[in-house]
Amino acid sequence: MPGENVAEDDSLTRRSFLGVLLGFGTVVVGAALSVPLIRFALHPLLTTTTEIGWSDVGKIDEFASLSAPMKKLITVEQRDGWRKIVSEKAIYVLPMKDGALRVLSPICPHLGCSIPWIEAKQQFICPCHTAVFALDGARISGPAPRAMDDLESKIDNGMLKVRYQYFRQLISKKEVLA
């Protein structure tokens, strides 16, 4: 009887050893196979598909003799996965200073309302909580934590171009929203 037991134990040990080996192998192979799956599923997070290209604002001659901020509507092309979406955004072109053009986002850095240029007062005044900004976007008064946000712009072949972006609200430092 004891002899038989030993034999049984032997084969059982082999069975359980194989079990561990198979289990381990399955885990390793499964993990290896799940790598491409995980990368596939994470694709939108791993690539910058939200990157925004340059939008045309207008010919620079149009802005050469501005005396007040000029509101312009631009079209922004964005990638949405496999789609290309076009949306319309407003921006302000500031009067030329030292031969340079600046472009402001009209979004209030306080809570995100659109800020109109008030011709009569020569100021930007936010209609929501009356944050007030100067002609160059500098903060004058009100609840806004910082000046109006500059948008990255460039001149290409006589055409003013801008890269439209959103910025985090309620903080004193300008920070791009990804």
Partner: protein
Amino acid sequence: MADAPKPDEKIIGSRASRWSRLYRWLDSRTGIGSLLHEALDEPIPGGARWAYVFGSVLLFLFISQTVTGIFLSLYYAPTADHAHTTVAYIIKEVTGGSFLRSLHAYGSSAVVIVVLLHLSQTFLYGAYKGRREILWISGCALLGLMLAMAFTGYLLPWDQKAFFATTVGTNMASEIPWVGSLLKRFMRGGNEMGTLTLSRFFVAHVFLLPAAILGLVAAHVYLFRKAGAAGPPSEDPVNPRLPTQRFYPRQVVMDTIVALVMILVLGALAHFAPTELGPKANPADTQYVPRPEWYYLPFFQWLKYFKGPWAVVGIVIVPTITAALVIALPFIDRRLERRPWHRPVAVGIFLAIWFTLVTFGLLSKREDRLDPAIAKQVAKQRQETEQFMHEPFEPEAAISTLAAANVALADPLASAGKKVYEGESCDAYHGKNGTGTNAGPKLAGATAQKPAEELSNLLRHPTAKMIEGEMKPVDVSDEDLKALVAYIKSLK
């Protein structure tokens, strides 16, 4: 637990009592012990063999197709407008997308190959004999469902190849007497191939057929266990006499090794020879020469021999009789003799069928090569596919909010009014396109539907309630006011 401990528990117990206790805790709640015993200790008369691996490998491939299929659907859109773009996006842009799609596409071919091997093994070993009729029939049903999966999945990329192959495939259905035309229109969702066809094939491919396959696989495995493993051809199929070996470990190891080789082969193919996508389906193309996937080639060639009124014989009658004979095999061949060398007629017919299939497949390839017009067109299609694969991914222009907003502005007066609306910074309060903000109410909708006179009056002389909400009288020329009203009225 009054019973003597089962062998499995004993080992685990001798290894570490902690694991043993965990196992017993789990077992008393889930019955995992008897489940494992049921799954792994199936007796195989005559012991494990490489010939028995195909069933397990198919199960593995089914899981692989399911997983890759679910992941592919993350980026796929089943409409005629978007299907091709989304597949192009998957293979040209998404990380590992080409690899995953190729795994899925090659996987489908692998399923066909392994199903045929499984069927051949069962036939040659006479493993359908001895109270296994229903088991055999469930296998036949699975074969049919699997071919349906291949047929429906083939359309989904919506490239030229997919479109025209499926046009031909659905046309064949119309040869079926009485219901053919209805069946064809039902499959297509109309007379023509279109976006409804794609929806139908998608639903069949990802919901209906997989659900049916899942159910039938469960039935097939259950019936297999109920009948017991048949063992080698020399074994009695009803009362096995050979000494048995348990499914685990030897057979499990063999199955696993073959599954691993399968992964390696599919992975290497997907990596080094990724599946291509052709240009988007163009129903107006009259030149395209559609060719089915390789496993349908013998049938494709077969149909060439049935012209005009004889088509129904080739498409419907002969295939139906063949399918009926295959399904009825265990009822026709009732002898318990399993050894192939003692079944010359059955094995002869089997080899003849294989020979015919292979010959027809090769013939179709040969005829395409020898016909200069077809060879030229096929080469051109090949080149167009290559070219499309080399082009960078072109995102689809969405019908954007901008376009939608501008449609309403076809009226020049309303368009001028939009400038006034933005010039007066009305948009700061009432939002872009009058959609409303925290600061001002929405204009689109109810307000926009007010009569023009009432609107101009309200703009010039806001009500007390409006003034309370910080609305100021609009101070513009009468002409601009008219334009502004026209714009507001265009906001729906």
